[in-house]
């Protein structure tokens, strides 16, 4: 499995000759007097799974949001493929998130009034897919993640693990090239967490999607190709792969 890189080094991917799918350089972001990010570098290659770990309040989620274009850094750049994310306006970043990225969160991420299948169709509808095609794809994803019988259920009728797998299906339904997962197993017991992580990583690998996930759970981090530790707003470069 992976190893943790040493403190003080930037979290760049190992040199294998390919250009990174996502590349962040010199990210700095402060909330008032609090410096959440203090010069973070990070590369993520296509199909790679990176676990961002660190203690609570270390800046994991902030880093994830900056990489996904949700937050704009005070300094530094984020490049996705050939697009400089940090130069885009809000609408441009939203479009990029919708078309190229997928998201999985810890809590409250499913619309409570929509069935599992309808929840999965939302990003597809936003991307302009017809309702019929969206439902077809949603059902296919739910089947693939073992949730075929739950497609007509409301989130309140699902277990925590099932709801997270629905969220994974929703995140992957638009065939993103990069998946962001913020504490995807944070609210689950170990068994459910294992099921979700297996589903997430397998589906991501099948789709050749890269994954950047935050977690404080070493067992979840173990599913990643490498681990990047964030402490006091700086990355400590993680390590060994596979």
């Amino acid at each position: 499995m992976n190893t943790v890189e040493t403190i003080g080094m930037s979290a760049r991917a190992p040199v294998d000759g390919s250009a990174p799918l996502l590349s962040a350089r010199g990210l700095r972001l402060a909330f008032g007097l609090t410096e959440a990010l203090r010069g973070v570098d990070l590369d993520c290659h296509a199909g790679e799974i990176i676990a961002v770990t660190g203690p609570s309040g270390s800046g994991k989620s902030t880093l994830l949001h900056v990489l996904a274009g949700v937050l704009v850094p005070d300094e530094g750049t984020v490049d996705y493929d050939t697009i400089r994310l940090t130069d885009l306006d809000e609408a441009g970043r939203s479009r990029l998130r919708l078309e190229k990225f997928g998201f999985v969160f810890q809590y409250g991420q499913l619309l409570p009034d929509l069935t599992a299948a309808d929840n999965v169709t939302i990003p597809l509808l936003l991307a302009g897919v017809t309702r019929r095609e969206a439902r077809r794809r949603a059902d296919a994803w739910l089947d693939r993640l073992g949730l075929g019988e739950c497609s007509r259920k409301l989130p309140a009728q699902l277990s925590g693990g099932q709801a997270q797998r629905v969220a994974v299906a929703r995140a992957l339904a638009t065939k993103p090239t990069l998946l962001f997962a913020d504490e995807p197993t944070g609210s689950l017991d170990s068994l459910a967490a294992e099921t979700v992580m297996l589903a997430l990583t397998e589906a991501a690998r099948d789709a050749n999607a890269a994954v950047i996930l935050t977690t404080h759970d070493p067992r979840t981090a173990a599913y990643a190709d490498r681990e990047v530790v964030v402490r006091d707003g700086q990355t400590t470069v993680g390590g060994a792969y596979g």
């Binding site: 078309e99 409250g108 619309l111 409570p112 009034d113 929509l114 309808d118 936003l126």
Partner: protein, 740 residues
């Protein structure tokens, strides 16, 4: 004390929490203020009726009718009085002529001692009218002004009342008339005490009930909505409390305390708001005009009962609702879906339609059910309740169909939300629905008066001709009669010289009733003479009041003058100048001169003017409150889902989609029942009008003002929804996605 501290910590910490509590208190304040104003108006009309009715001289043992006024005389303990109804430019002036001794002990309400002969006291509104017009148009009717009638003798600040002092010789007997809601007895009366009676009319009670429903229903809905504000956030906090060991009873107590304190603050603010609004509310005309501010002031005991009742009610409901919601240790994290509405919800609506149509059909067949009026009101109330009860059912059905056909993201989110929460969604627009229904009933109902407006037709007497019936001459022999004829002729000649008078005609009394005019006189004032007869006869009051002018050939009648017609050039000034000239002449009038327009406008004003203001005000208030309810509900619906919507925005969903969700969630329930409300409102109005009159009356096309009100209501709803867009944008940012 610990309960209060705990409540403050749990429910009132943080900016959002304070906003929620302020919203709740604000809603309750509006409700309490309107309730107090309604109660004040109800009491005000009762006390106003006492002040309004004193000129009607026939109440009780303190007044007796004088059979022969010429032989009567006042004493120090009694006065002679006659009340007449005069007109000026479409307004009614109550004129009380009093003959009193110099040492009279009789007290005239608002005046004190009776005025001396040739002097008068007038109400402030009439004084303003007199001062605004030349003396020969109005002021010279009454003599010399010596004082103002104060509030004790007036129905309201816009009342037109004059108390004149006169002599027995000049005391003009009156005929019966209706001033506003007061029936004025005719004749001359000997009065020992002027006293009014309290008589809130049954019409007023019915209108009050409808008005109260129109205003209070949206208020109750608003209070219901504001007390649910931030329910999701609060549920999470309560769940956290349960997790650390609080019992359900303790949680319910905290919820009740929070609502109790907030509703107390809101209720006290409502009392202050009502006090501030009294001057504005006093401007509203109802039945007999505007109110004095004191009329609308509610006694402290009533204020106390209202405040205590509202606080106790809100507190009890909050505690009960929290107990019933069974918030468990994990209860805050999952949203409850509503119980699916069933078809039973439309039963009251159907029952209301059946009751209304049944009672109306029986009335149209001239076999009316006993107490048809009460059955119709019951049907109306059933429909109001039925619309509110059926709304969620219909909304659910439509949303279900719409959800299947939805293709847009916003539509999918909104339709599914409505399917899961049909009652909450409909509640947001239910106030508006009630307002639209009530305005439809009201607007359609008052169209029945349109058919009564004065008709301009050759078959009718011109509305600009003054009609004055003359007192029959005293049977004192031929010489007296001759001198009276001479006097009438001379007085008429003086009237004819008045500016704006184009012709006069004196008709002689006919033994069978009515008056006979020579062909020449008839032609001068425009009476039709189709057969070219030398004389024509016109009938009594029906000729100049209720129907078309019917003339028939006649032979010359006796010389006794019975009817004076004064034709004018039609301008208001000319009509009023001529009226003042007639009133100031030596003519012995049976009643003040009137035009046909005066006569008819007095009748149809009863409905159109007196209740239209109240109805439109009720609708305006109901619509405004409903708009606030809609805004609060829309914002609450977004705030309750802010995290999920924030996460969707984080995933790339544009904020415009959130806006479309808000629009769809407000538009669907409104659109579902809007046409139904309009249709049922018009049907209800027709049933009430036709049912109460056994088909003698019906309703007409709705006036443009109705469509204006509907458009205003919809525009207000649209504005309200648009106003929530900012909340949609700011509350679904990245901060919303954070836990805790």
């Amino acid at each position: 004390m610990r309960l209060f501290t705990l409540t403050r910590i749990v429910t009132a910490e943080g900016r959002g929490a304070y906003g929620r509590l302020i919203g709740m208190a604000g809603g309750i304040a509006v409700g309490v203020a309107l309730l107090l104003l309604l109660l004040g108006a109800y009491d005000g009309v009762t006390s106003r009726s006492e002040r309004l009715s004193w000129p009607s001289l026939s109440h009780g043992e303190w007044s007796t009718q004088v059979q022969n006024p010429a032989a009567a005389a006042p004493t120090d303990e009694s006065v002679l009085a006659a009340t007449n109804l005069e007109h000026f430019d479409g307004d009614e002036i109550i004129r009380v002529d009093i003959v009193a001794t110099p040492d009279s002990t009789v007290v005239v309400p608002g005046v004190g001692r009776p005025p001396a002969a040739g002097t008068y006291h007038a109400s402030p509104a009439l004084i303003a009218l007199i001062e605004a017009n030349p003396t020969d148009i109005l002021g010279s009717r009454y003599g010399t002004p010596v004082g103002v009638i104060d509030e004790a003798g007036l129905a309201g600040p816009d009342s037109l009342v004059v108390v004149t002092g006169t002599t027995t010789e000049n005391l003009r007997p009156s005929i019966a008339g209706v001033a506003g809601t007061v029936f004025l007895r005719g004749g001359v009366w000997s009065v020992t005490e002027f006293r009014g009676v309290s008589y809130p009319s049954s019409n007023y009670r019915a209108i009050t009930i409808i008005g109260a429903i129109a205003v209070l229903l949206p208020v109750l809905i608003l209070v219901g909505i504001v007390t649910r504000l931030g329910a999701a956030t609060r549920a999470e906090r309560f769940a956290a409390l349960r997790l650390i060991g609080a019992t359900p009873r303790r949680v319910a107590a905290i919820a009740a305390t929070e609502t109790g304190v907030t509703s107390l603050v809101g209720a006290l603010a409502g009392v202050a708001l009502a006090w501030l609004l009294i001057p504005v509310a006093a401007l509203v005309e109802m039945e007999d005009g505007q109110f004095f501010r004191a009329d609308l002031t509610v006694p402290p005991s009533t204020v106390l009962i209202v405040v205590a009742g509202v606080v106790a009610g809100c507190t009890a409901v909050a505690g009960w609702r929290t107990s019933r919601s069974r918030i468990g240790p994990l209860g805050g994290s999952r949203e409850r879906t509503e119980r699916r509405p069933t078809a039973l919800g439309v039963v009251p609506l159907i029952a209301g339609v059946v009751v209304l149509l049944g009672a109306t059909t029986a009335a149209l067949r001239h076999t009316p059910l006993p107490r048809t009026d009460q059955i119709l009101i019951a049907g109306f109330l059933l429909l109001v309740v039925g619309l509110i009860a059926a709304g969620p059912v219909l909304t659910y059905w439509i949303a279900r169909i719409a959800a299947r056909r939805a293709h847009r993201t916003a539509w999918v989110i909104a339709m599914n939300r409505i399917q899961q929460h049909p009652r909450a969604t409909f509640r947001a627009v239910s106030g508006l629905v009630a307002a639209v229904f009530l305005v439809s009933v009201f607007s359609a109902g008052i169209t029945t008066v349109a058919e009564e407006s004065p008709t301009e037709d050759a078959d009718y007497l011109s509305p600009s001709i003054l009609v004055a019936w003359l007192h029959p001459p005293s049977p004192d022999g031929a010489s007296a009669a001759a001198s009276e004829i001479t006097a009438v002729t001379a007085a008429t000649a003086r009237v004819a010289r008045t500016d704006g008078v184009t012709a006069t005609a004196i008709g002689s009394s006919h033994p069978e009733g009515g008056a006979v005019f020579t062909a020449a006189d008839a032609a001068r004032v425009g009476l039709s003479n189709p057969h070219g007869a030398s004389h024509i006869q016109v009938s009594d009051s029906s000729a100049f009041g209720d129907g078309s002018l019917v003339t028939r050939p006649a032979t010359a009648s006796g010389p006794t003058p019975g009817l004076l017609l004064v034709a004018t050039d039609g301008t208001t000034r000319s009509v009023e100048r001529a009226r003042t000239a007639v009133l100031g002449s030596e003519l012995r009038l049976l009643s003040p001169p009137m035009t046909r327009a005066d006569h008819e406008s007095a009748r149809w004003q009863t409905w159109a003017d007196r209740y239209a203001n109240l109805g439109h005000l009720a609708v305006l208030v109901a619509t405004l409150i409903s708009a606030v309810s809609l805004a609060v509900s829309s914002i609450a619906a977004i705030l309750d889902r802010r995290r999920v919507l924030g996460l969707l925005r984080l995933m790339g969903m544009p904020v415009s989609t959130v806006r479309r969700v808000i629009v769809a969630e407000a538009a669907l329930p409104l659109a579902t029942v809007f046409a139904l409300c309009v249709g049922l409102g018009i049907l209800t109005a027709w049933c009430i009008v036709a049912g109460l009159t056994e088909g003698e009356r019906t309703i007409n096309w709705l006036p443009p003002s109705y469509y204006l009100i509907l458009a205003t209501s919809l525009a207000l709803a649209a504005t309200t929804v648009v106003a929530t867009f900012r909340t949609a944008r700011t509350s679904t940012t990245i901060e919303a996605t954070r836990i805790g």
